[in-house]
Symmetry: C2
Subunit: 380 residues, 2 copies
């Protein structure tokens, strides 16, 4: 392979080269590399370039090659790897220790991950918490609460580093002193958006910032959409906190569903357009979640980690059998009543009423006064 | 039947008598009356009373009879019917024109309905809109909006006449000049709760107020629960607008599910305990609804009345094929770029890029400047 200035027989360099040559999610490149491996696939491409492809609009492979060739001249992935090195980053390859195994469920997994921070943050129990940039105070509060709760439970919070919900989720996880991961649409050398640069520095200090495109690549709309599939696949569940009727966060949810991950949505006021996309997801079958415990339930094997019912006072009649409940209900609010009167009011046999009153008396829920019965006086 | 002061061979009087004799939902009475009809069932009970039941705690029928007998002495249902007459009301019997057919799906349907207002309001297309008494401003607003929207679409709004969500739903339907029905737990002579008396007068003027217990009967907790099953069964769907984690409105939802009616819940802020019961329902499979159109969708045969998607501006790239979208995305935000540069940025074959740019130019989405291309300037 004399065309390339780097050692294209090195699987790391070849895999990195593919991440530079083609756009994320390119199905033909994915199939070629999956079939031949990155080294032989790159060799095949260089041969094809030497032979030349002149047939236009012809066979799919010719189309694919002519799509990839514009980036072949001058390709030298050592530059991008140098940049990563200078940033203290790590290139993570499929199958390596820190490779998120969930990515292999994608139709076209990334060729590599370019990672800053601790690559160990990429695998382990995690949930995606995503949503609109145009978030409300409510949405940001809930995203931060969920991020915090997940972090405290040892669940990594994965998001996209964007303004609004993403940032709130990362911040919540940082507040919980947990692990959080931002997956970027552009290169990890450029902490995008600039207004979140300080936040993303904190994210990579406590967890990781990762991308499938090399340093130097700008984020673009199609790369944002491709990035969303990584967030969806590398986590155990995707939670959308706020999203308008059309929102990029819904694409993350769709990708999660495609790879069989649970999709959850946080409800909000129906009067808020910022929750319209969440309600749309709920109508389409997403799980309704209201806190971190309910998100964890989606990650846990059955029976583990089930959230407790909120502690509430039992209602007055909650723990009574139906007959006792009716009898108690039939006792006058003020004063006392004889059994016959209670039976008439309750529509019950007087013998049943007598038996029930006996039980209620033992439970301190009814008091006898001569031949009549009354509710016990409430004691302060 | 010399025991009774009224003509117990009259099916109307006999059915009314059963509604006085036993508590709503009494399964033995329901089975007896379903089997023998109200007249013969009443005759059977009078015979049993004459013979006397001494066996206590014995066979189920003996238990049932001793439950019913306390109310037999002095039973004269003509009094209750006189009261109904004075109020301009109507007794509606099973199978009659205005009988809500859905009630027959109940395990124990009511023996009669005591109705004030227009009994025609009881049948026809309807939805239950229910919820907490302790409602928030948000919940009341949404309930009123849904009530209004249903009324305007010719759907009767059925609720329980209580404070909070029920009242807001009735009020919304009245504002929409539609039909609304309040089903009470006590007799229709007493418009309960007293604070809603004026509202309930408006309800019966535009629709109906109905109960299965006769005039004179007080509402009690067990009658509220029994009443909820009527609301659930006589309507095409039940919508819970706001409900705490434990709330009577959830019992209406449970009864609706039992008789095969769709159950829907309106989401709200997860920070509001007033919506916790709704979110619980959503987690248990209720349909998420945000407006009247989505409620109507639950009532309509498939294909009818489907709500339109909210009108939104299509996104910049929404209507483009993926290649054109990538090309447009790759055009620089400022200035112009030659095809080769656009192809490199987009990761596409230059021939594809040229073809896509031609289409984009025709659509006014790209402009040619010499051999370069740019985004069209936005015109005011």
């Amino acid at each position: 392979m004399p065309d390339l200035p780097f050692d294209a027989a090195d699987p790391r360099l070849a895999a990195a080269a593919w991440s530079r040559l083609v756009e994320p999610g390119d199905p033909a490149a994915g199939a070629l590399v999956a079939h031949l491996g990155p080294v032989d696939a790159l060799g095949w491409l260089c041969s094809a370039a030497r032979v030349g492809t002149t047939a236009r609009g012809g066979r799919p492979w010719e189309q694919a090659v002519s799509r990839w060739l514009p980036r072949l001249p001058g390709l030298d992935v050592r530059r991008e790897l140098d940049t990563l090195d200078r940033l203290g980053g790590t290139l993570v390859l499929p199958g390596e220790e820190h490779w998120p195994a969930g990515l292999d469920d994608l139709p076209v997994p990334p060729f590599v991950l370019w990672v800053r921070g601790d690559p160990a943050a990429l695998h382990g129990r995690s949930a995606a918490v995503v949503g609109a940039r145009a978030a409300t105070t409510y949405g940001q509060r809930v995203a931060a609460d969920i991020g915090l709760g997940l972090a405290e439970a040892g669940v990594a919070v994965v998001s996209g580093g964007a303004y609004g919900i993403d940032a709130a989720a990362h911040r919540g996880a940082l507040a919980g002193e947990g692990v959080t991961v931002a997956v970027l649409a552009g290169g990890v050398d450029r902490l995008y958006p600039a207004g979140n640069a300080a936040l993303l520095e904190s994210v990579l200090a406590s967890g990781a910032v990762a991308a499938e495109v090399p340093p130097g690549c700008a984020p673009s709309r199609s790369r944002f959409l491709a990035r969303n599939r990584l967030i969806a696949a590398m986590t155990g569940a995707t939670v959308v906190v706020e999203a308008a009727w059309r929102s990029g966060a819904l694409s993350t949810a769709a990708r999660a569903a495609e790879v069989g991950r649970p999709v959850a949505a946080v409800p909000g006021p129906v009067t808020s357009m910022a929750s319209a996309g969440c309600h749309r997801l709920l109508r389409e079958g997403a799980v309704c979640v209201t806190d971190a415990a309910e998100v964890r339930e989606l990650l846990a094997p059955a029976g583990e980690d089930l959230p407790a019912e909120p502690a509430v006072q039992p209602g007055l009649l909650d723990d009574l059998d139906p007959v006792a409940a009716r009898v108690l209900d039939a006792l006058p609010v003020r004063g006392a009543a004889p059994v016959a009167s209670v039976a008439r009011t309750a529509g019950l046999d007087p013998a049943q009423v007598r038996a029930a009153l006996g039980h209620l008396e033992l439970a301190g829920r009814a008091e006898r006064h001569g031949s009549s019965w009354r509710r016990p006086r409430v004691r302060a």
